[in-house]
């Protein structure tokens, strides 16, 4: 057989594979193609080469009459029909069932042969009627076992035997007086059985973990509990649940208040209804009396009364609400639940109390009224103000202005159209400098890039500087003409194309004290001129090529302040 040197392309699961039958390709070729497969069977390695499995796998695909031999099951000789006597009921729908085994097996104690022998002995010589039945025996045993498991869970270790008295509670729960007669005897029997079994439950049980070291190697210990997966505890989660609890509490309190208020409301309503019906009765009486006495006038009374009544009702409501302001507050978050009668408040009370049906109110009228009202109000306030200030003389120059310092106060100065030849060193010049006729550097810088042509027709721009609290500097300007602000444009961009001469370098408005600018400057690498010192300081590796490109083209051009910034950053570098 020739060894083929074909390199297999790895088969992608998405590759379209042609499906052929064996006879559709050259049989000789097929033979040589098929023996390289190394198949991972997924069987434990040590078992993979077991004789029976391999002999079947070897004949893979061929219908094998071979089987893996197993110990054969055999028909049992028990009386199956007798043991499994219950018949299943046919159901049309699929069964649904959720009871547990414990709920289906009745008494959990099953009598052993030994128990049966004891019971026959115990019942011997007794009359049929007073014999203890197997079922009752099991119930008693179950009761003892259960109580013991509950009261002395570590009986195996501490050898504690639950005394008979302790069983009484559980026995009473059986609620069967005739059992009580046997209980003591069966208890004694149960006790001996327990002792025989080493104080373990009479029925052998599965071995669960006892949290001893022997657990791990003991193959009989089974069904260990899996450790609970911890949810991660974070401050945020704590906070969230705290908030949730608070909100819950608040909402429940609100709901409670709401209920109380609505209860009150209903009571009041009831009261009102009672009054109304009383009024109705009275009125009916009046009517009768009137008819009787033949009084024709004053029929209006009956209706007037009604408006008055409604008025009273409203008053009642308001009173109720005033009495319990905090309750009212509670109602507020849910205006939809507000008691229906409140709209009555808005019904304008007619001074003439003419009719039950209010006139149609026009919105325009209402609006005019409102406006009128407002105007009057304002007028009266203006009036008031004037009367208040009638004889007032203000002796202070504005109570909140900072205390004036003689000589510190400055007049407005005119801007001289002059460019500073040396840019002010920001550190020093930024400091307030008294007597500096040129004004502060800030002012200068601010003004220096003003377009003169723009300013010339307008009055000369002026400025002054003040020192505010905490040494803040204020530059007041006046006479500046500013273009209407372009909503889209960046204020810095405003000057972008404004330079009238090519020599003039672009200047960008910046506050030299702005920390952002300071930070930025600190990040700018040193220009080549400063490399020497830098090299000395940092001892770059020999292969290091300083990235000059970055330096020659800083992202923001600093204009005249650039050399200064560099100087500064250098200074920082040396000092740090």
């Amino acid at each position: 057989m020739t060894t083929r040197k074909v390199r297999f392309k790895k088969l992608n699961t998405k590759t379209q594979l042609p499906v052929l039958r064996e006879d559709q390709i050259d049989p000789n070729e097929y033979e040589s193609l098929t023996n390289e497969a190394q198949i991972q069977t997924g069987v434990e390695q040590a078992e993979e080469n077991e004789y029976h499995l391999q002999s079947i796998l070897k004949a893979s695909g061929v219908s094998s009459d071979q089987e893996i031999p197993v110990p054969p099951p055999q028909e049992s000789d028990i009386k199956y029909e007798q043991l499994y006597s219950r018949k299943v009921q046919q159901t049309v729908s699929y069964l649904r069932f959720s009871q547990t085994v414990e709920e289906c097996v009745g008494c959990e104690y099953d009598m052993t042969t030994e128990d049966a022998e004891f019971l026959t002995g115990y019942n011997r010589g007794k009359k049929q009627a007073v014999r203890l039945s197997e079922d009752d025996f099991e119930r008693l045993m179950e009761c003892f076992e259960r109580t013991a498991a509950f009261q002395a869970p570590f009986a195996v270790v501490d050898k504690a035997v639950v005394p008979y008295d302790a069983m009484m509670g559980a026995l009473r729960e059986l609620d069967d007086d005739k059992l009580m007669g046997y209980a003591k005897d069966i208890y004694e029997y149960w006790k001996t059985r327990r002792q025989e079994a080493g104080n373990k439950p009479v029925h052998p049980s599965l071995k669960f973990e006892s949290h001893q070291e022997t657990d791990d190697m003991d193959p009989y210990v089974c069904f260990r509990r899996r450790e609970v997966r911890q949810t991660r505890k974070t401050r945020n989660r704590d906070l969230q649940s705290g908030e949730k609890v608070k909100r819950l509490r608040r909402e429940i309190e609100e709901a409670r208040q709401l209920l109380l208020t609505s209860r009150d409301l209903e009571l009041k309503k009831q009261e009102a209804l009672l009054i109304e019906s009383k009024i109705f009765d009275r009125r009916a009486k009046i009517k009768q009396t009137k008819v009787k006495l033949g009084i024709k006038t004053n029929d209006e009374d009956l209706i007037n009364q009604k408006v008055g009544k409604r008025c009273a009702f409203v008053a009642l409501e308001i009173a109720a609400n005033l009495l319990q302001p905090q309750k009212r507050k509670a109602v507020e978050p849910s205006p939809t639940v507000r008691p229906p009668p409140t709209p009555q408040l808005r019904v304008p009370l007619r001074p003439d109390a003419r009719s039950v049906e209010p006139d149609m109110v026009l919105l325009s009228d209402k609006r005019a009224d409102k406006e009128n009202e407002l105007r009057l109000d304002i007028e009266s306030k203006v009036q008031n103000h004037q009367t208040w200030n009638k004889n007032h003389v203000d002796l202070t120059k504005g109570p909140l202005s900072p205390v004036s310092q003689s000589g510190f106060e400055r007049r407005y100065r005119q801007v001289k159209a002059q460019f500073p030849l040396t840019p002010p060193a920001s550190q020093e010049d930024a400091e307030p400098n008294e007597g500096n006729t040129n004004g502060s550097g800030v002012g200068l810088e601010l003004m220096s890039h003003q377009d003169r042509s723009l300013l010339s027709p307008s009055p000369q721009p002026e400025f002054r500087m003040r020192i505010g609290r905490l040494g803040r500097m204020w530059v007041d300007r006046r006479g500046l003409f500013s273009e209407p602000f372009d909503a889209v444009g960046n204020s810095n961009d405003r000057w972008k194309y404004d330079s009238d001469s090519e020599d003039e370098t672009d200047v960008i408005v910046m506050d030299p004290n702005d920390t952002r600018a300071l930070k930025f400057r600190a990040t700018i690498p040193l220009p080549p001129a400063h490399q020497l010192t830098a090299n000395r300081r940092y001892a770059y590796p020999p292969g290091y090529v300083p990235r000059t490109g970055a330096i020659s083209q800083p992202p923001i051009r600093m204009g005249q302040s650039q050399p200064q910034a560099q100087a500064q950053s250098q200074a920082q570098g040396t000092s740090s």
Partner: protein, 509 residues
Amino acid sequence: MTGDSRATSESPRQKSIATPETICAGCIAMVEKDGGYRRAEILSKKTTKSGTQFYCNFDQFNKRLDEWVPLVRVDFTKEVEWPNPDKDKPKEGKGKKGSAPSKKSVALKKGQKRPSKASKNSKREQSISVSEATTPHPWTELPVELPQLKIEESNERGAIDSNAVATPATAGDEMDLDDEYDSQLAKKKRADGNGLGGGYTREQEIEKLRTSGSMTQNPAEISRIRNISKVQFGKFDLFPWYFSPYPEAYTQEDLIFICEFCLNYFCDNKPFTRHRQKCTLLHPPGNELYRDDHVSFFEIDGRRQRTWCRNLCLLSKMFLDHKTLYYDVDPFLFYVMTCKDDQGFHVVGYFSKEKESADGYNVACILTLPQYQRKGYGRLLIQFSYELSRIEKKLGSPEKPLSDLGLLSYRQYWSENILDLIIACNEREEKITIESISEQLAMTPQDVEHTLQALKMQVYHRGEHKLVIPDKLIQQRAKAKLKKKRVLDPARIQWKPPVFSAASRTWAW
């Protein structure tokens, strides 16, 4: 479980003639099995009325064929390999030992492939060391005590062994297998080197159990001696294959009784009869998901039905080697297949499934009870597991390792379904991708490839991957189809994938 046992172990073992008195647990002797003599490791020794008996694990035979043999079946004319005193020490340089002189000619022939075998046996040694030192209940011994015990043993035998010290171990392959097969095996093993179950320590193993939710277990955990001899279950008496942690007292019994419906266990006929009078259960305690004329499926939550599921696990552990009952049943759902008659819904088989599988497994353990095996029920169980995956819109695969029987059942299911699919493709002259096969069958692409390779259908021919269906498979499939094997009708499944909230995941299991 394993056939290879000590037989293929690397460290040289001392050999000499033994007598019925000196032979002990841990020895490898020639024992008669099925009419021939076969190397067997003696795992335990007991004396009964009829004489001394030895619990033997036969080389290259599955553990389920282990048995108690009387003295007469042991061949005392042949030398016995004694247990190695220093096998607890960490092994070094096992790869170096090459072709060793051996009494068997077959072994000689295979010398060259031993290293690969040996490297894998390191893990096996661990498991052996746990159980072999003492006789009646090896598993109760702590591993710490072992070295001491072993040294004593070796001292006892010092005189006998001294002349045999230089004799290295034999390679234990008795089977007369041809060379090609052997080399194939060796290659396969190499490929598997880091694969499944590759050398876990015990701690790693438990940690893996804890975190992955696996229900399978490693050899190091296996108690190697079957502890229940016979089980009465339904209409049958079953002979367990493997160890199961029923209460230790039950191992004394010749026969234990298990209620067919609630799966409770009884050591005696009397309590069992009493129980049967009271037990009202007639079907697995869960909801029915599927019903046809033949079988029904029930879904049972391990957490809600803890007792029942534990009982089921104890029962199935007797027939599943790689199942572990180390942890509780809470994180599993159990899908139980039953067949119905007047007496009720009888459990035929089941598979368990993690409520949430990190590895995307759709089956953790799967078993057809022995009395129902070889009747096509396994295929139904497997089909059902894939139908559920299909409803979940997931691709599923059974958890590894598979048992020998598991592998065969799955291979059969996979190959039948893939064949049907691609034969149809061939008839329509269409191309097909592995991905589309995997989606149509809810199988993982790895399993599809695995099957295609196992059936030698995936070939690389003229620069292109192709699927080639061998004629014999086509014929075989046609023949099988005539047999009208039962399949499930997916339309009858009434099931919605259960959803478990984060809270229940945190607190419920």
